[in-house]
Symmetry: C2
DNA sequence: CTCGCCAGTTAAGCTACCTCAACAATCTTG
DNA sequence: CAAGATTGTTGAGGTAGCTTAACTGGCGAG
């Protein structure tokens, strides 16, 4: 299967998603988004911004005339909002339900926000809301969940409800040090 | 914050992760991985494979000599295993806990498998295992969760445990049609 | 042995995204 | 209303990852 090739065919790339978010946040923050603001906000050169704006304009996500301010089109606005919502949902799920540190949650959310389908984001929101609610089943679950040890003592096939032929955990935990180092934790 | 720039600084790119996985799966499938096999497996040209192999060799993830078979190094093998484990964990969480369709789950997992930190993957595995286990709190929660309506009726600030100033759901659901179309659902 | 085929490589070219350096437009201010 | 600072654009150049086209290494059949 060459599902993997769709990565390059996403409606927007990682960079584009962040340009759109930058424009959106500058607009709400200071009322307008200019090339220099975007460049500063994203930590890239102004020339990089100019050429990216051209590309975003071609895709109908922004409008921008020479030396003017940048405006999001309706679809650009939608995309920016959706990406931002995904980011928030993912971050909250990672920190509040999975109990991952803020640093790692923010980094992971930033990496995947634009790649997660709305279907998944909306379900993730639903699960997070439910688990954070006052519903007795949710409270009971979280309490029981927090109480069980982190270590899966028995990871033989079929003992764990997720692993099958081999223990998935083993290949994950051994890399945890490496990634913590990068994040500066 | 320019967290977003780390996207390009990941140990491996999306493509690289899939090349490594292709080599690993060909090795277990037919005992060896050759350029042509990899090209077929990934649906790219042989010349593309040759140049990617050069790049992976430079990074110490594979070894490959001219006209020979491709071998994963220890770090290449670790990376391939970790990516594959993440993919499995994510897929199972999306289908079995969130209840998303196989098609969407596979696509999303394929997009993000290499971007999710091992910390998050391992916690996701733990949650999924727990929820799929026989633990009474898990059974009760899933039952209650499945029974609650999909619609969040009250999304005013503070009513929902996740949304704050505005309803995150609104910006997500309106895009669901668009993405289903792409996936061919 | 050599001809031909297949696997693999090199070369050139494309798109995306970035950089720096030079230039052009606009704004500010005396 | 010009001088100079600020802001934005253009252009050339680099890396990553792909493509196609042309070339080469290795090997079996006659």
């Amino acid at each position: 299967m060459d599902l993997w090739k769709r990565f390059g065919e996403k409606e927007v790339s990682h960079s584009m998603a962040h340009y759109l978010q930058a424009v959106a946040s500058l607009k709400t923050e200071k009322g307008h988004a200019r090339v220099g603001d975007i460049a500063t906000h994203l930590g890239v050169s102004k020339s990089g911004v100019t050429s990216m704006l051209r590309s975003l304009q071609t895709r109908g996500l922004i409008s921008h005339e020479k030396y003017g301010c940048v405006e999001l089109t309706v679809s650009g606005q939608r995309l920016a909002e959706r990406t931002e919502s995904s980011r928030l949902v993912i971050t909250r799920f990672l920190t509040e339900i999975l109990g991952v540190s803020e640093a790692i949650a923010s980094e992971d959310a930033c990496m995947i926000e634009h790649l997660v389908s709305p279907e998944v984001s909306v379900e993730l929101l639903r699960l997070t809301s439910f688990l954070r609610s006052e519903h007795p089943a949710a409270r009971a679950l979280l309490q029981a969940y927090r109480a069980t040890p982190h270590e899966c003592t028995d990871h033989s096939p079929d003992a764990c409800a997720v692993c099958q032929t081999s223990c998935l955990r083993d290949s994950l935990v051994r890399d945890i040090g490496d990634s913590a180092e990068r994040t500066g934790v």
